[in-house]
């Protein structure tokens, strides 16, 4: 569901020219209908288009050791992070353009059941790779669990409304190991991409995760994409054993398979017609 709001009719149109630090956030609500019910676990993505997360300098602009909880890097981030390395002589944590441009819309999903909005529980854990969460990204170490203290001496990225240690309320999803953050830090390969936002778990075996019906999406619209003709989307999808829904591979296999079969037949014919000539008769020519 595109909620960029480029069309004037879109409820989010008003938020189109939102800027990073607009407070309070511009909010809008989009209603949509699901034709089919989702039986298994549903993955909720946000998608961005025309967003070149694979730009060379953008990709480089991070400091992995800072993100890994290295204390010295925390206060003295890598040069790669320039110009998002320091702000007002304080090191930025997390530094770099990737972190700086983190997606910060908030999406909430409601099922509209007879005009009542039933909020759907969105699980925000388990959306990042396990290795990322547990190995690659770590909060700085130190005595105590007080993240605020640990991030002492650093400042928030320029575009962020809140510092990194206030991303989430739960301590095991805060700071660098905030999963939204980790997901964002994994830069997308192509300019049109989606990133996992939330999970909707199937409650019980009796009813589908998401029934067919009307839903509404509440958006806290913070993330400006209009300046570069970007698009924002929300995608709900289930995942089979071989990933998300993408018909391409199937089509490709069918096409190639039939081509191969056809060629096989042709070659068989050719072989029968000309092959025996090759084995003996033609050589002296």
């Amino acid at each position: 569901i595109d909620y960029t709001g480029t069309e004037p009719s879109s409820p989010c149109n008003k938020c189109l020219n939102v800027s990073w630090d607009s407070t309070p956030p511009c909010t809008c609500t989009i209603n949509f209908t699901l034709e089919h019910s989702f039986e298994s676990n549903v993955f909720m993505y946000y998608g961005l288009s025309n967003f070149y997360q694979n730009h060379r300098r953008y990709v480089k602009s991070r400091d992995d050791s800072q993100l890994n909880g290295d204390n010295s890097s925390l206060l003295n981030p890598s040069k790669e992070c320039e110009p998002y390395r320091t702000n007002e002589d304080k090191p930025i944590a997390p530094c770099g353009a990737i972190a700086n441009s983190m997606f910060n819309d908030t999406l909430e999903l409601y099922r509209i059941d007879n005009d009542t909005r039933i909020p759907i529980t969105l699980i925000k854990k388990g959306i990042a790779w396990w290795t990322d969460k547990n190995v690659k990204f770590r909060n700085p170490t130190g005595d105590g669990n007080n993240l605020t203290a640990l991030f002492q001496g650093t400042t928030k990225p320029v575009n962020w409304p809140k510092p990194v240690y206030m991303l989430d309320s739960e301590p095991d999803n805060n700071g660098f190991i905030n999963e939204d953050f980790i997901v964002w830090m994994r830069t997308a390969a192509l300019p049109t991409f989606r990133k996992l936002y939330r999970l909707i778990e199937r409650k019980n075996n009796l009813q589908p995760t998401l029934q067919a019906g009307k839903y509404s999406l509440d958006i806290a619209y913070n993330y400006p994409v209009h300046s570069f003709d970007g698009r924002k989307r929300m995608i709900l999808s289930t995942i089979s054993w071989m990933g998300g829904k993408n018909p391409f591979l199937g089509i490709a296999y069918i096409t190639v398979g039939s081509i191969c079969f056809f060629l096989g037949v042709v070659l068989l014919i050719i072989h029968h017609k000309y092959g025996n000539r090759n084995t003996s008769a033609d050589i002296p020519n």
Binding site: Y58, W129, G230, F248, V256, Y274, N278, I283, P284, N285
Partner: protein, 1547 residues
């Protein structure tokens, strides 16, 4: 006439005037450089001395070097003074030291442009604004490449170091000042000025001036095999004055100063003089110098002073490494590398502009969040951004230029060379030598050779000279027995070595036979044993037995004398004996006998043959020690009688006194000679007793005879000559009992029957050179005391120098007759392919001689342009000669030469023979080795002046041109209508009909710039070109001409020094490591033992190397382009920002690690066609000549294919992962994997042979990739920014999508190429593919096919022959055709018949295969083919009428009934076929008329005739076919039996 080549080919740097001449070369004392002060070992004087020396050195530094004894100076000081100036003997060929290795090696490597490029890019990466990778990582591949090269260099250098060390630590005896004797020291400690003592068989450590020798004559023999490969011994002589010293040489007393040239690399020259204490000077010549690397032979001990040491020795100065040649493929490759650069630049430019636009589209204000500003927070302007990006992208795309290409090619070439070395087929057991590759980098050129320039002597022929026949004073002695004996040698090779132990005794018996003149009966027995042994095995054994004897195969040594001549010789000798005993003058002898006598004397002495006995030198040495005192007395004796000898230059005016002194001297020496050869103490004393008597007796040999008579029985004498024909002549003379028993510097002993040993005093030897083409000796005849000049030389030269004889004088008339007769015989010999030599003599009066001597000495003593003056001087004496006779020497063809030439020619190579031989000889050899065919038209160019040459060329060209154009039209039409002959380019039959023979003089004219184009145009059209009488320079000019003007790959092959220039000029130089020394081998890129090895070298190894390398290079380009294109496509999706989805590690190591091994394996091991097939079907070689494996369009095809494949490999993952949560590197890794799969499978498609190594390398590469990826991705969670691919691979491996993409992408990517290969292989197979298929068949079928192929080849060869006749025949055929025009619309033009002919041959083949398949139905098929072929013919011609008949014919089932129910149409077919087949039998053109008339009536028979004739023709039996035809014309036989007959002949 081979003398020219033979002797020119023998480089003979050691030959030249005998030392006897040199003694006169000493300059008068006092002249020149002023006498140096005498050496007194007092410090003060020494100091002064040194100062003056320094002064002098300053003055003369540029010209000369001074050497004095080190013993005179205290050692420390000596060292100090020497070290600064002169090199020590320590050898250091290493390029680097431990310290200098790194900088020096890097410097060397940066000479290669590619390395600079890569380093530049790596450095560019350090610039923050543009860097693409981690800078350290980007350096890795460059460093890797540099390191690999450096390690290779280091290893080479280390092996050099080791060999240096080994050499440096060899020991030799150096005189020590302190211990007053020779002590053992390492070579490296030898310094200039040291005294070195050498024993027999020791290797000389430095260039040493010979000061003393254990040999009483002050001689020393050395073997120079290490320098030039010549195994014969050379004489060296002690410096004159030291020879005279009466006491043993004592280094301490050596006070002289030696002044000589600066070190130079001229092996054959050394000039200088030695200044004695007394102020006297002696000249020094190369005869006094022992060169480093040679071996002392036959001499017990020598001592000398070191003149040049270490790197200044001539041997080392001559030693330059292998040349760097760049192969054609490499040149082409470099061009394509440039194309790659261009593509790279275009890609970069495109990206840069794209990036500029991309940045620009966002404008100044609204910068997107993902566009990261510079460190200073400012955004770059679009232009600047694009400029930066350009550089970045260059870094990213750098792999486009294959960094490892050069290294890989080097590795592959080294491996290829290794495999060539390993080839057992290229090993020659006789010479125990194998192929050597001296140039490592042009192996693939071997696969592309178009022209072969071959020397004749020693290359095509064995260079083992066998005396065949001779003519003396106009009477020919044919030596039939000898010829028979030689013929017998040809057979027995199969008979094996059962007679092995006999080898040793044989020589013994031979010697007895020959020396004792025990008649021919004995000899023939010994020949029989030889015959049984088998010549080659015997030759080998002989060469092993006599390690340092070059030419001793029994075949050369045994000569069966012609009985009549032997009789005459004996008679002559008897006469002489009688006369001598009666003290009659010699002139009473009849002129003929006199001539015979002189002839053999000349044969015996006019050469440079050295005599050695097999059990030397031990025996000789023992004798010498026992004889010490007598020898001294003899020396005294000599000196007493030759007071003027050393200073004769000054008093040569008194010629008479000189003459007497010389004659005196002679006697002494003759005694000496017998001493030094074989006799024992007793005999010598006996002789000494006689010596006084000899003084007053003109004939000394009577006494000697008794003394020496038993000598030779001790062992056979061996003759070692510089050129084999010299040895052959000496052996021939020995067969007539006129044997050379000893040769010293100024005296030759000859043993004659009845006369005993005669000693000729050699006054001068005018050595052979290729300009004069003759050599002469000036001797004093012992019997007559006359001064005789014996000249031996090429007939053309000698004949011109003969004494013009007046026709009125009867004697003169007689002489003239003799001359003309001899000339006739010479021509006859030449026709037989013999090398001819003329022997002539001149009697000089004393006055003449004295006069000449004076001028000659002047010439000799002159340092400046001495060579030229000597030449002039030689011309003066070699004139007014009296012709004695001529000899014919056979030089046998090497094994397999005709076959090799035929095969090479089939392979599309043009073989030119450039020889110094006479035209007739050359032509005959050419016929013998199938270079020329008898049915070939031969154009002979012999012109006297440039003008005539021009005219001649013009005429020939026109003639050829007309024929050529005529034929091309024929060919063109033939091809158009038929579209046949993939194996035979249409031009080849046209070329093959001509042979061009050109002689040296005309060649010189033809090579002038104005004419060379015409000459070339003519030569190009000829199948073979033969240049006779050409000088080495001309040879190289011809090669150069062809190479430059025709832009063809040339290969020159030769064995002698006269081929060196040619070998160097050619693209590929091949040396034959044969008999005539190593010069050719030194200059060559490859050295083969025999000519026939060239076939395998070119056809198999050349082809393989070429196709492997070509494929590898193409694959390299493809691989890199494909990989880079992947990145390029990605630029479209990352805003042209230069980012890459492939992790930089993969990016950088992809080429180096993951994909390099399989291609190396393929490059080294792939065999597109197996060796047997390549040999059996030489035509396959043409693919290399035409550069079929690597053509420009193939490069572009590969590029396009690479683009396509990369598109597939990019977009399948793209669409698969489009709009998904995939991140860059978990998207890029599958792409890398896919690319790897694709690339390796691509290689698999291109690989032709699969071995275990291929499989394992491919699998290994893939496993390696996964292994590296897994380890790398698991290694470190925070390292490797920016990609930080932690756990990516592991995660991907758990994703089924990954596998699905990895399977489908390579399939799609490779489908087109696979399809192309399959279709092309099935529908339009190339010859190579056919050849490959051939190899897969069972052996029987293969041989069957091959024979068929060869048969067809013969037909094919008859075709051009027919072509040449077609114009004449055309009218004929036309006539006969017209007669039937009413009934049959037959084509009448020769062109049609031509095309019909082709059709016909084709039809024949198809039919014949069927015939082979089912013999029973053969007849039926045989008939059936007619309609089918005719139908195709008719289709092309469009004769409707005929088609009707054909369809009728075709409807008949194959084996059902005879298609004989003859309609008129069928008769016409028969006729048609008949006429088409006529060009084949062009010789029976007359039969045509008869047959055609009878045909009308007997169509049925003619059909049958046709069938049979075709088959018979298949066997190439033209005569038989015509017979059959005529039989058939009578209409008698039943066609069944005839057909059966034909079938059997075919099968």
């Amino acid at each position: 006439m081979g003398y020219g080549t033979a002797a020119a080919a023998s480089p003979a740097p050691w030959a030249g005037p005998g030392p006897g001449l040199q003694r006169d070369g000493a300059r008068p004392a006092g002249g020149g450089l002023g006498s140096p002060p005498a050496h007194v070992p007092s410090p003060a004087v020494e100091e002064e001395e040194k100062a003056s020396e320094r002064r002098r050195r300053k003055k003369k530094e540029s010209k000369t070097r001074l050497v004095r004894s080190n013993l005179l100076l205290p050692e420390a000081e000596a060292e100090k003074s020497k070290r600064t100036v002169l090199a020590s003997n320590r050898l250091k060929t290493t390029k680097y030291t431990a310290l200098s290795f790194l900088p020096k090696n890097l410097f060397e490597q940066f000479h290669r442009l590619a390395n600079v490029y890569f380093v530049f890019i790596a450095l560019l990466n350090f610039v923050p604004a543009v860097n693409a990778f981690q800078p350290e990582l980007a350096l890795a591949p460059v460093l890797f490449i540099l390191a690999v090269t450096a390690i290779k260099d280091l290893w080479e250098d280390y092996s050099r170091y080791r060999s240096d060390k080994e050499i440096n630590h060899m020991e030799c005896l150096v005189y020590s000042r302190n211990e007053k004797k020779y002590i053992s020291r390492y070579w490296k400690e030898v310094k200039v000025g040291d005294f070195v003592q050498l024993r027999c068989n020791e290797i000389i450590p430095a260039d040493i001036l010979l000061l003393s020798s254990s040999d009483p004559d002050g001689l020393c023999h050395i073997e120079t095999a290490n320098l030039d490969g010549e195994t014969n011994l050379k004489q060296r002589q002690v410096v004159r004055r030291f020879l005279e010293l009466d006491s043993e040489f004592d280094p301490l007393k050596f006070t002289s100063v030696i002044e000589c040239e600066k070190p130079n690399n001229d092996l054959s020259r050394f000039r200088g003089y030695i200044v004695h204490k007394s102020g006297k000077k002696d000249g020094l010549f190369k005869e006094n110098l022992l060169l480093r690397g040679c071996t002392i032979r036959n001499t017990e001990e020598v001592a000398g002073i070191v003149i040049y040491a270490g790197h200044e020795t001539k041997a080392l100065l001559n030693n330059n490494g292998p040349r760097y040649k760049r192969s054609k493929l490499e040149r082409q490759m470099n061009a394509d590398v440039l194309w790659c650069v261009l593509i790279l630049l275009i890609m970069c430019l495109f990206s840069a502009i794209g990036h500029g636009l991309w940045v620009w589209q966002y404008g100044e204000k609204k910068k997107p969040i993902f566009d990261v500003p510079g460190p200073d927070g400012k955004y770059l302007s679009p232009v600047l951004a694009s400029v930066y990006l350009f550089l970045t992208v260059i870094i990213v795309f750098q792999v486009m230029i294959p960094i490892s290409l050069y290294v890989s090619i080097e590795i592959v070439k080294i491996c290829q060379v290794y495999f060539i070395h390993q080839d057992k087929d290229l090993y020659d057991e006789e010479t125990d030598s194998q192929l050597q590759c001296r140039a490592l980098n042009i192996t693939e050129d071997l696969g592309q050779v178009q022209f072969i320039f071959s020397d004749k002597t020693g290359t095509l022929t064995e260079n083992k000279m066998v005396f065949r026949r001779c003519t003396v004073s106009g009477i020919e002695y044919s030596h039939d027995d000898n010829a028979k004996r030689l013929a017998m040698y040809q057979e027995p090779d199969s008979e094996e070595d059962e007679a092995a132990p006999k080898g040793g005794t044989l020589s013994q018996r031979d010697s007895i036979c020959s020396h004792q003149s025990i008649k021919v009966i004995h000899r023939s027995q010994s020949t029989k044993t030889h015959r049984r042994t088998g010549s080659r095995a015997e030759a080998k054994r002989a060469s092993i037995l006599s390690k340092h004897t070059a030419f001793s195969s029994p075949m050369e040594k045994d000569i069966t004398p012609d009985p009549s001549l032997l009789e005459k010789v004996n008679e002559c000798a008897k006469h002489l004996e009688v006369m001598r005993s009666h003290e009659q003058p010699l002139s009473h002898l009849s002129p003929e006998l006199c001539d015979i006598f002189d002839f053999f004397i000349a044969l015996t002495i006019c050469n440079t043959v050295v005599v050695t006995a097999p059990n030397q030198p031990r025996q000789k040495v023992r004798d010498r020690f026992e004889l010490k005192s007598p020898v001294k007395t003899i020396e005294d004796f000599i000196r007493r009688f030759t007071p003027s000898r050393l200073t004769s230059g000054s008093n040569s005016s008194s010629s008479s006194s000189l003459a007497t002194s010389k004659s005196m001297h002679r006697f002494g020496l003759s005694v000496l000679s017998s001493t030094s050869t074989d006799s024992t103490l007793l005999k010598l004393e006996e002789k000494l007793a006689y010596s006084a008597q000899m003084n007053n007796n003109g004939y000394n040999s009577q006494q000697d005879r008794t003394a020496v008579g038993s000598g030779p029985e001790e062992g056979e004498l061996r003759y070692e000559a510089e050129s084999p024909d010299e040895a052959a002549l000496v052996y021939a003379a020995r067969a007539y009992n006129c044997s050379l028993v000893g040769r010293l510097s100024d005296q030759v002993s000859v043993e004659l029957p009845h006369l005993g040993t005669l000693s000729f005093e050699v006054l001068h030897t005018l050595g052979f050179d290729s300009v004069r083409k003759r050599m002469s000796v000036v001797v004093r005849h012992p019997l007559t005391d006359e001064i005789n000049v014996y000249t031996k030389g090429a007939d053309s030269v000698v004949m011109d120098l003969l004494l013009p004889c007046s026709s009125d004088d009867p004697r003169g008339k007689h002489q003239k007759k003799i001359q003309s007769k001899t000339q006739n015989y010479l021509n006859l010999y030449a026709v037989d392919g013999l090398r001819t030599l003329c022997i002539a003599k001149r009697v000089l009066s004393k006055e003449e001689y004295a006069c000449w001597l004076k001028s000659h000495l002047e010439a000799e003593s002159c340092i400046e342009n001495r060579e030229e003056l000597l030449f002039q001087s030689a011309l003066r004496i070699e004139k007014n000669l009296h012709l004695l006779g001529a000899t014919g020497i056979e030089d046998r063809l090497q094994d397999g030469v005709p076959e090799t030439i035929a095969n090479l020619r089939k392979a599309g190579l043009q073989v030119w023979v450039l020889t110094g031989d006479k035209q007739e000889t050359a032509v005959n050899i050419a016929y013998a080795c199938k270079l020329l065919d008898h049915d070939e038209e031969i154009i002979t160019l012999n012109a006297e002046s440039p003008e005539t040459c021009a005219v001649l060329l013009e005429q020939c060209l026109q003639c050829v041109e007309s024929k050529f154009s005529n034929n091309t039209i024929d060919e063109a039409t033939g091809n158009m209508t038929v579209g046949f002959t993939p194996l035979y380019p249409p031009s080849s039959p046209v070329l093959s009909s001509l042979g061009l023979v050109i002689d040296g003089r005309t060649l010189a004219y033809a090579l002038e710039p104005t004419l060379e184009d015409k000459f070339l145009a003519l030569a190009k059209r000829c199948r073979s070109v033969l240049c006779c009488r050409s000088t080495p320079l001309q040879k190289s000019m011809v090669v150069k001409l062809v190479r430059d003007k025709l832009k063809a790959m040339t290969l020159a092959i030769g064995d002698g020094a006269n081929d060196v220039s040619m070998i160097q000029v050619a693209d590929v130089g091949v040396g034959i490591s044969g008999q005539e020394g190593m010069q050719a081998v030194m200059a060559s890129d490859f050295a083969v033992p025999r000519f026939r090895h060239l076939e395998k070298l070119l056809l198999v190894h050349g082809h393989w190397c070429y196709s492997r390398l070509a494929n590898m290079v193409l694959y390299f380009f493809y691989k890199n382009a494909m990989f880079v294109a992947l990145l390029f496509w990605y630029q479209f999706y990352c805003g042209f920002s230069g980012s890459s989805m492939v992790d930089q590690w993969y990016l950088i190591f992809f080429n180096l690690l993951f994909s390099s091994l399989p291609q190396l394996i393929t490059g080294v091991l792939d065999k597109d066609v197996p060796a047997e097939v390549l040999i059996a079907v030489p035509q396959l070689y043409k693919s290399g000549q035409n550069m079929e494996e690597y053509q420009p369009h193939m490069f572009w095809m590969n590029m396009i294919d690479a683009m396509y494949q990369s598109l597939v490999c990019f977009f399948i993952p793209y669409f698969t992962y489009y709009d998904s949560e995939v991140d860059i590197f978990s998207w890029g890794t599958p792409i890398t994997t896919i690319a790897l799969f694709t690339i390796i499978l691509h290689l698999a498609i291109e690989t032709k042979t699969w071995t275990f190594l291929h499989w394992s390398s491919c699998i290994f590469s893939i496993l390696l990739f996964f292994f590296v990826a897994l380890v790398y991705n698991a290694s470190c969670p925070v390292c490797h920014p920016p990609s930080n691919p932690y756990w990516t691979m592991e995660r991907l491996m758990g994703d089924p999508m990954f596998y699905f993409t990895c399977i489908i992408s390579p399939v799609v990517a490779l489908l087109p190429r696979f399809l192309y290969r399959v279709l092309q292989g099935t529908l339009f197979p190339t010859q190579l593919q056919l050849g490959r298929q051939l190899s897969k068949l069972s052996p029987e079928i293969r041989t069957q096919l091959l024979t068929k192929l060869n048969v067809k080849e013969t037909i094919r060869q008859t075709q051009p022959f027919a072509d040449s006749f077609s114009p004449s025949l055309g009218s004929n055929a036309g006539d006969c055709c017209k007669a039937y025009n009413q009934s049959t619309p037959l084509p009448t033009s020769p062109q049609t018949s031509e095309s019909l002919f082709q059709e016909h041959t084709k039809a024949e083949h198809t039919t014949d295969q069927t015939v082979a398949a089912s013999p029973q139905g053969a007849v039926l098929y045989g008939e059936n083919k007619l309609p089918s072929s005719a139908s195709s013919l008719e289709r092309s011609m469009g004769f409707h009428e005929v088609r009707h008949g054909t369809s009728e014919m075709e409807s008949l089932p194959v084996g059902a009934t005879f298609p004989w129910s003859s309609s008129v149409d069928q008769a016409d077919f028969g006729l048609l076929r008949w006429i088409t087949s006529t060009p084949l039998f062009s010789r029976i053109g007359t039969v045509l008329q008869v047959s055609s008339s009878s045909l009308q009536n007997e169509t049925r028979d003619s059909m049958c005739v046709l069938g049979s004739s075709l088959h018979v023709d298949f066997k190439g039996l033209k005569e038989q076919s015509s017979n059959n035809l005529q039989d058939k014309m009578k209409g008698t036989p039943a066609d069944h039996c005839k057909s059966d007959n034909s079938e059997t002949t075919f099968l």
